[in-house]
Symmetry: C2
Subunit: 356 residues, 2 copies
């Protein structure tokens, strides 16, 4: 275990920790006393049918979704009980830097999207007694978890909204993610995962951030110099003032755990690599919501999957910021679109569960 002040209540709270006990992983290995960090908004109703689950994206935490939640919004805490759950390895939930021996640092085991979803299932059923989810919604790796939820627990998930992500990761994304990971592991100071501080790996984390800049935004974002969407005035401020220090605060091993997981997200693991069969299991009313200019989860990849989901619609979000539109960089415009689609989805009637 090492200290990393970034993953604090001050920066990412308020969040709570739920102890799952010893949690066995799909790739083998166990996370002893596995912890899920989560935040909630609103109240669970008596029928326990107003819960919305929101899983986090790569490098993100529950804090990132606060801009998606609010009174009068789609994710309205007056109406819904919104559980934002941090994926394993993200720095708040059980992760390399905060886990004791025998799974600390370089010894942290491989985690899969399926592990996250099983852990989240154990958490919300065990802790809250929730047996149905009005909606699962998440962006990027949050979309991967959303798909996994809808395929793995089809009777439980009433509605699903994967934003800017895929059910089966593409080969292109695998290679892209590898370049992100290699940027870190090529730093000699990474030291096979046994550094003393994330700051040792500042060079690798900077390179990792720079590759994100190439793929995370869009060519049009740069052409139109849309830095203002992220509150800065120059591209240097965007890179050296925001994106690079942002990733440099993070734990390198955490990013690697998430990267490995992202590369292998694939609901067709449930159906012997038959993606159509896996997506055909989904009972949720599903809105597939790619971002139009996303350079690595392009609408074409998302639409192909959407067409395999029985009760689904394609809802393309427009954002010049591309994948990083997820940060809400276009302000009201981005959130207006997301809220509009999610309100439409939440208003859609679905097959209600028989109360077991």
């Amino acid at each position: 275990m090492i200290e990393n002040a970034f993953y604090s209540q001050e920066n990412h709270g308020p969040f709570h920790l739920y102890e799952l006990g010893d949690f066995s992983l799909e790739e083998g290995g166990v996370i002893p006393q596995c912890k899920l960090a989560y935040a909630t908004h609103g109240q669970l109703n008596a029928e326990k049918n107003n819960a919305i689950l929101v899983p986090t994206w790569f490098s993100g935490t529950s804090k990132d979704y606060e801009s998606y939640i609010g009174e009068g919004r789609a994710l309205d805490p007056k109406l819904y009980f919104i559980i934002v759950v941090n994926q394993l390895g993200n720095g708040l939930s059980s992760s390399p830097h905060n886990s004791p021996s025998p799974i600390g640092m370089s010894n942290f085991p491989h985690v899969r999207i399926g592990d996250d979803v099983r852990a989240q299932h154990q958490f919300i059923t065990g802790h809250f007694g929730i047996t149905e989810l009005a909606l699962v919604v998440g962006g990027s790796m949050g979309a991967q978890q959303t798909y996994e939820w809808a395929v793995r627990y089809p009777d439980m998930v009433k509605r699903a909204a994967p934003i800017a992500g895929t059910a089966k990761n593409t080969i292109h994304d695998f290679i892209f993610t590898q370049t992100l990971m290699d940027a870190i592991t090529s730093d000699p100071a990474w030291n096979d995962g046994e550094y003393q501080s994330n700051t040792d790996v500042a060079d690798g984390l900077k390179r990792h951030a720079d590759i994100w800049a190439v793929m995370g935004f869009t060519t049009e974002f740069f052409n139109q110099e849309k830095w203002g969407l992220f509150g800065v005035e120059t591209v240097d401020e965007l890179m050296a003032g925001f994106l690079e220090p942002f990733f440099q605060l993070m734990d390198p091993n955490a990013l690697l755990v998430m990267g490995w997981k992202w590369q292998r997200g694939d609901v067709s693991r449930h159906t012997d690599n038959d993606l159509a069969a896996a997506l055909g299991r989904i009972k949720a009313k599903t809105f597939v919501m790619p971002i139009d200019r996303d350079m690595f989860f392009p609408p074409s990849d998302c639409e192909r999957e959407q067409q395999l989901i029985p009760n689904s619609e394609l809802k393309v979000i427009t954002s010049i910021a591309g994948h990083f539109g997820l940060f809400g960089g276009e302000g009201e415009d981005y959130h207006g679109q997301v809220d509009g689609y999610l309100k439409e989805l939440l208003a859609a009637s679905v097959v209600e569960s028989v109360n077991e």
Copy 2:
């Protein structure tokens, strides 16, 4: 100087060397006994008005354009005298690994696109007595040189066809290129440019190749598993069997010289950063030819420039291979489009030079 068997007549010939003498550079510094490597196809006619100049792309050599040249093609050696000239720093022309002290290896000076074009101008006027070019055509960094030719020597260039490249490099491309360069320089074996052999830097060159894979192809290329266009059957063969060893053969410092140059390509240096004024100088009939799915020279960036060029048309090439369509990965389909546009351009009447 170090040996690198890749840059041989066997691999890239036949090519010739032209000595420019001591060549002064825009950034300061001199390349003593500067050499341009070139190949020619066809014969210069008596009027010396059938010359076509073709400058090379990043990491490429004159050999790469052989697939663009042939009897009955647009670049027909029966009709034209085609000069394919290797950019400075590309490993065949004067470059870090083949230059003696005081400019060998890490001491090789910064070279700009303008240096290449001045060197090429000195070469073709001095060696061949050419005072007009029927066409300048090149892909990627070859397009950068094409634009520079048309702006710098507007009376000399009758037709111009920049393929998959820009007149003023974009901020996005600058950052992308930086990630390519950082992949190399982050390898400790690069040793600030003073390695013993390019093979020392195999890890950095592999990472460089992997980033190319992310941006050089397209998401659709990966989705449709179009490896066959490059003569291989799996993505592993594409990466570990082709792309990675391909770049690992090259000289790291050569790639860095070209990368630095690419980042700063900008014809508006002639006009106090006024791009419209620079492109307005072009007298050549110009076909701007982006590739539709190019992830870093997208048609939108190219079209904006095309609209600033007086006698120009936008001709978008379709290729699922994206930027790497330049390699002719789509075979006859790609080359059919390029040949069609170039034939149309070569058939277009232009303002003839008064024979001075």
